[in-house]
Symmetry: C3
Subunit: 335 residues, 3 copies
């Protein structure tokens, strides 16, 4: 394994293999596995779980990590060919190769630009980071991907005994004060499809997932025996659901247009996941969310605090999923 | 030992046992004791000594730590039942259990709200954190407590050979530009009383320590053979003193009322501890302070730079005291 | 070795010995060399490479580090004898000894005051830090020095096979939006002279390096068989150059006077190192810079992205150079 950029780079069997390793490391610690190894963590955007779970996971394997945030250093320039006479004191063309050269692997978090949908979907920025990084690169959330979250979510579904086949997985849009990136919804719909589940994307008009995202998920579903549908009909979506995964994202119809997005979502206050949503769902239907989550906006307290909520398990599995990734990237065979 | 929340949870003998362990770890390093263990450190307020001494102490025991500050992530909501459509992106009901799930123990620093004295004294906020944290919890300074500081101070008194019985310990209020929390004075008065010292709280009118704080210290004094008094008479307080522990705190008469507090303290510029204060004290009377300290406001340069000042020893003992706490919390018996 | 404050504290042979050690640690890892050791890192100014390379280097030797930034704690007072009733909550007279007491060595970064040239050249501030620090002190960039950078640069020259004798090394001033400190140019000119190279300082009028800086470099050149010259004639400087080391710094004629400095540099837009500069240089002339570098201002993209640019090697060598320093400071002989 050279990088961990995208769950789509792996077959279902390879993902299962990573999850088996994650389970093994959860139950049988290997505190010397990565002795002397160093993980670099570069955050262009804030983090709580990602920072803590990567640092803790690396430590549990005997390695160490360092953290770089632009707040603690200086602004980094991303654009090519510019005269850098503004705020940015350093270009990513220097910063990324240099940080990579101190580390055995480099994790980078860089959210979507949020202006040009096509450039974001093509992961324009992250592809540049990949070219610049001579060491194994870990995607800690890019414009339209979050493979660490998806690997943790898959493990959580396995841990809970949620079957892969003939199981209805609903990814539902939810309310939020701001237009959030597509990273988690895009990664989630693909993960659930690759796992072979029957995936329904539930979202209001104007919040359709982009065609390339849906196409990719549909191809994964075809390979794995799952299916993919999209609807704005909540009743239809939730009928028989065994998992409801809530997440907010910005309007794709008005991508990059904050005013139009705000006007559209203003009328969608009933998109706060609440207990009545689960009326026609399976009795033991699970509630999932990647966190951070806004209580009373995305989901009601009573759902989030109910036994059907597995958000803490998802978050805890971030650590074990990432430990498996680090182990595969950094452990020398035979040593 | 399950948590380290409050020195009052321990008997004098148990505290002495922790201090013996701290002394042992100071002189005989155990660089593998906590191999593979992870300490999470969550700061809602800034820190210098606490962050550095916990990270250094954990490292000296062979473990590792991660640090989360709201500045590097996002604002966390504390209130129950609110609709989170404001600045806070995540609730402590998610953040704390998740961070605890990555760690073998979690340290939290959260200063007093400073508005509702009763809620602060009851440690309303820290009790919620305790409920949310399934792993051992360490109090890195709460509304009215700072047990790590008190344990370090006790060790410092022991190291210096300051007797426990028949020894006058003066906790003196001091000037400061701002109304500071009651955490250190409340913890200090209890620590000195539990150690069996004759404790005098010296403070201007309007800065009385709250009744519940004094009551708790008085009970500790009774159990340990010490005593507790309170006065605004500096001469009376300092007469025969063997320790002067300076600390500023906000007016308890005007708790949460910044204007009234400022008006009251404006007339108290002579509450900067200076060499003449020690005229009737014991010849080798020690000067203590928890740091950070404002020179020329809380204490004069000549006192702070004199041999009677032991503030650096106190600060250094933070590390050894906390190493003992970590060792007790995290070291598996027999391993 | 007690401290690492200044490359001038070492003979050329001692520097070569450190570089040999750095090369050994680069090729033959010693992941247990500093087990149980703790490095404290105190940044008064932002950092990217220095933080990451020190943390990574310490980790590769089996030790750990902690990081303190005034942003994450509070403002620290530097001035002696002041009444601290302003923003600063703690004095360096407490902060530095305390942080040193948690560590086996302390690294400090503190840029020049930039107001009083004489005080900066005398390293007034860093000398105080040295007095306050009872543990080995590492200069992570002071007012007019950056010995870690110079050690890494020397190693880079060795790695590249750039001869020490009869080799023309040009330190060239470059354009920049702000008057930067003298630390890197002062350290670089001394390093190149101590290595025995023929050093030319190329800078516009008004940007002369201060007399004491040049005198010190000249003495080093005399001891090592090198030479030192200064000119504003670009053609003369670059003729036959084998290394061009670019760096911007503030006008020394107008030290501390931002307006006069800005007026002077406004006319110097052609001081952006570009390919034509190398017309009369040696064919394989190298381009060096300490980073961060502003593309299109200090140096053109085509030079920075060309094979003659060795800035990434310089940056990577920061880690190995510093590992050698840490090893010498912290590794107990015979253990």
């Amino acid at each position: 394994m050279r990088d961990f950029m995208d769950l789509a780079d792996f077959s279902g069997e390879q993902v299962q293999d990573l999850i088996s390793l994650a389970k093994r490391l959860e139950t049988r610690p290997e505190p010397d596995a990565l002795r002397g190894k160093v993980l670099g963590l570069l955050f262009f955007n804030p983090s709580l779980r990602t920072l803590a779970s990567f640092q803790a996971g690396m430590a549990r394997l005997g390695g160490q990590s360092f953290v770089v945030t632009p707040q603690a250093s200086w602004q980094l320039e991303h654009r090519a060919g510019v005269t850098m006479d503004g705020l940015a004191a350093e270009h990513v063309r220097e910063a990324i190769p240099v940080l990579a050269s101190y580390a055995d692997a480099l994790g980078i978090r860089a959210f979507a630009g949020g202006v040009d949908l096509e450039a974001d979907i093509e992961e324009h920025q992250f592809r540049i980071f990949h070219e610049l990084c001579e060491m194994p690169l870990i995607n800690m959330e890019s414009a339209v991907n979050h493979p660490c979250q998806s690997l943790a979510d898959w493990k959580t579904l396995d841990d809970l005994g949620v079957r892969a086949r003939n199981t209805k997985f609903v990814l539902s849009w939810a309310q939020h004060p701001k237009p959030l990136p597509l990273a988690v919804p895009a990664a989630t719909v693909h993960m659930a499809a690759l796992r072979g589940m029957d995936v329904t994307v539930l979202r209001p008009e104007g919040f359709e997932l982009p065609g390339p995202v849906m196409d990719r998920a549909r191809q994964a579903a075809e390979r794995s025996g799952g299916s993919l549908a999209e609807t704005s009909d909540r009743h239809e979506a939730l009928d028989g659901a065994q998992v409801v995964y809530a997440k907010s994202w910005g309007s794709t119809r008005h991508y990059g247009d904050g005013h139009a997005d705000a006007a559209l979502r203003a009328g969608l206050t009933d998109w706060c996941v609440d207990e009545p949503w689960f009326g026609s769902a399976a009795e033991d239907c699970r509630f999932m969310h990647c966190l951070p989550v806004r209580r009373g906006v995305v989901v009601s307290d009573r759902v989030l605090d109910s036994p059907r909520s597995v958000v803490r398990q998802q978050a805890r599995n971030r650590m074990f999923a990432q430990m498996a990734v680090l182990y595969r990237l950094l452990k020398r065979t035979g040593s």
